[in-house]
Symmetry: C2
Subunit: 490 residues, 2 copies
């Protein structure tokens, strides 16, 4: 049995962070705490040949001591601590490592750039719903990229360009944008030809800040950064304006004040890489090195990849909220069979069976909070916690099905906020009717032994059960089209 609580500390050039993960079963897990301290250990180091300075080291040691205390209070049995470019570059890193061990009781592993790129790739590959693309992880001192193809990590690279590095070397000195551009361009020459992809996975604080600015300016309907996608072309010009902007004008781009000093360098690096890779689409990643370190421990001996059809968020939700899994599976079975029986009538893309199946398994989840309005709670739960491995469209569809599977999907403002992400209303109405009927059929029986047939506008439900309550409930369902439902005892 592996440790239940694992803490991963990551000492970057800009901030030190700790993520605490809780495993809920063999591969099910979720993040339970994330702490950030802006220790900026690399402060004033880039002009001193990478030498870590006294005050930043003191800050880092204090933060580490309290990180360790938090991890212990949480009951962490495993604590991993990695450090990246600031310590890789520091001639006096040894002094800091010794102090960290003596004063905070923590063994820091300074990881190489390729390893850092690997962790980012492991995280995105396992926790975003795509198997192709290039990761870009922009940090304070370095930037890492990984080429992912067919679900496999093919290439790794680490570049000596980062937000704090550019800030201290160029942006802090007025009028040196050209030099910064040239510096980045030169570093990019190291990148091999095969780093080309239409899709980029964006990792790290800079890229998250840019995504947040886009979400805000476009009034994007879902308030979740992980999995947010946008077309590169629509935003490259803005990114260029951002890195060419004066600090005081950054606010107009929707950038928060605590990013003012690093966003320009970050936007410059990101823009250059997007152009070089030929990226048409950016998928924002809320996960990175810390999740990668955790997963590389969790999935060691499993080729660093989750089993086929395994989703850690679905698993963890079922574990955490004690859902009756057999009931969920039976509702899913009937829902998928109803989908097939009605296929000639609804003609919906079979890809939506994926959403129907997950919504069926998780349809009851809102009852964990309160039975009353549990469909609404369930929708809230899923929209906010189908974190890993789902696109925002997936999340929105599944949440909507759980919300409306026993009532009519309104055309009005109630779903307007997610409408841009959605399939047609008629498709949703069919899926929701099918899920609602499958749930009715499970009332007061084990939902087994059912058979479904469809002919000339009549759906026949055969079952060995009386279905007294099911019939009463089924009458209340909103039908997407004129269709009769007949019950037969088999």
């Amino acid at each position: 049995m592996m440790a239940k609580i694992t803490a991963v500390i990551d000492i970057g050039s800009n901030s030190a962070r700790m993520a605490i993960f809780q495993r809920t079963s063999r591969f099910g897990f979720h993040l339970v705490e994330e702490i950030k301290s802006r220790v900026r250990i690399s402060e004033e180091s880039y002009e001193s040949g990478g030498m870590l300075q006294g005050a930043p080291m003191d800050r880092a040691i204090k933060a580490l001591k309290e990180f360790m205390a938090i991890a212990r209070l949480r009951g962490a049995r495993k604590i991993f601590c990695v450090a990246t470019s600031a310590l890789r570059d520091a001639p006096n890193a040894g002094e800091f490592l010794a102090r960290a061990r003596a004063e905070a009781g923590v063994s820091i592993k300074v990881i190489e750039g390729e390893k850092e790129a690997f962790y980012g790739a492991i995280a995105t590959l396992n926790l975003l719903p795509y198997r192709e693309g290039i990761t870009i992880d922009i940090g304070g001192g370095s930037t890492e990229c990984a080429v992912i193809k067919g679900g496999k990590i093919k290439e790794l690279i680490s570049l000596d360009i980062g937000t704090i590095r550019l800030k201290e070397l160029f942006f802090d000195k007025k009028g040196s944008l050209k030099e910064a551009v040239a510096f980045v361009k030169k570093e990019l020459e190291k990148i091999p030809e095969n780093f080309r992809s239409e899709r980029v996975f964006g990792i790290g604080g800079t890229i998250r800040a840019l995504s947040k600015a886009i979400m805000k300016s476009t009034s994007y309907p879902i308030d979740t950064i992980h999995g947010f996608e946008y077309p590169t072309l629509s935003h490259l010009e803005t990114f260029t304006k951002i890195y060419s902007s004066e600090v005081l004008k950054l606010k107009q781009f929707g950038i928060k004040e605590d990013r003012f000093d690093t966003i320009r360098g970050g936007a410059l690096i990101f823009t250059a890489l997007l152009k070089l890779f030929g990226a048409k689409e950016v998928v924002t990643s809320g996960v990175g090195v810390r999740e990668g370190v955790f997963l590389s421990d969790l999935l060691r001996g499993h080729n660093f990849i989750f089993p086929v059809n395994f989703n850690p968020s679905v698993r963890s939700l079922i574990d955490r909220f004690c859902l009756n899994e057999n009931r969920g599976k039976r509702i899913k079975k009937n829902a998928l069979e109803l989908f097939d029986a009605l296929l000639e009538r609804h003609r919906i893309d079979e890809g939506y069976k994926y959403h129907l199946g997950i919504a069926a398994r998780l349809a009851d989840i809102g009852t964990a909070l309160s039975y009353y309005d549990h469909h609404h709670h369930g929708s809230y739960f899923l929209l906010h916690s189908l974190t890993y491995g789902f696109s925002h469209k997936d999340r929105a569809i599944i949440a909507l099905l759980v919300e409306y599977h026993n009532k009519k999907i309104p055309k009005d403002s109630a779903i307007a906020h997610v409408q841009t992400l959605m399939p047609s209303l008629l498709t949703l109405q069919w899926l929701s009717f099918i899920l609602g009927l499958a749930e009715c059929l499970s009332l007061g029986n084990d939902a087994e032994g059912f058979a479904f047939g469809y002919k000339n506008g009549v759906l026949t439900v055969s079952s060995p059960h009386d279905l007294y309550l099911a019939k009463e409930e089924a009458k209340k369902l909103a039908k997407p089209a004129p269709i009769a439902v007949i019950f037969e005892k088999s």
Copy 2:
């Protein structure tokens, strides 16, 4: 150890219902399922001397069979089944009880009217935040009242007036409103003089339907029926209009169609009782006989009352979402001590320490769903699941503190929906600052050994800990007024 899952079936004149309760610890519990079937067992019985008719009995047996199947699928170890006035009044009740036992395997207990009143009283006394008042539980065949004084049940009465009874005897025959009024008036003469109270607890579907109509017409901000309060005077006239209305005009009062046939009789009974009791305020109860049956089992040997300061919803939330209780208690301790230390500065009513304490214990609850935005999730959780023993004002304050304890409470639309229930913004800002600071102080330490002092605009926090992270976080808190915070190592 008592059973973990308990099902309570209640066969009323109008519908049969089953509630399934899950215990999470000795007294902690929550409702996990509620099923209703509109079997209307009393159909056509009131004009037949109470004789139950064949078709209604068949419906009831079918529903009971499936209720039992649902309870068993849920793993219920205890199943209670009670029947009220329809069976009390039926000369052929024995036939039905025998069929229920033989065909559905359920032993039905036909309870007397006073016992029915007792169950309603037990439920409201334990699950609403008041110790004085009269319950009114309007059913299909009868209406029960209980006088509660000083947290004790003093008087019980059952009246032979109910919604279905009035419908079948009077409202189904045109032009007989006067007779119905006289019939009710005559029955009310049975009520002793000491049934007088400014507060009424309203139980049952009719009273819930009236409350829902009021909530809708006043755009009430919280979508929860249990605990909804309104002044009697503002609505008596509407109730009178409702029972004098034609069926087809009921919609204009916000009454749903499935209540059209019973609401007039119900409104008539309710209006007459409110006037007789001299009620100034109605508190809507979402709980009644089923909860009473469950509680009278749970609390037998405890005088049918929860221990002092015990709240079943708080307990059940902590149990269900595996909150770290010690951490919650430490944050609570520091929050209450900060409240006291700053008392001369903020001068807030000490009654709010109750809300501060509960918010402190439950501040982390949103992390059960997702760490990101957990304050928002926590607020959502509490608004929807601090079900029992809280007024809506209590809920709204606690939820707001959890939502905003680490950021500024906005003056704008974000809290407008609950503003009518709230204390002043300044009071909330102080409470939220205090809770936020108490939470910061717990970062990376066991939150013990703290001492707080206030003098001349300066709050001094003494602690044996470094508080490196706490200081970083405390800087981000929004202060309700100019005040300095100084940290001292003790």
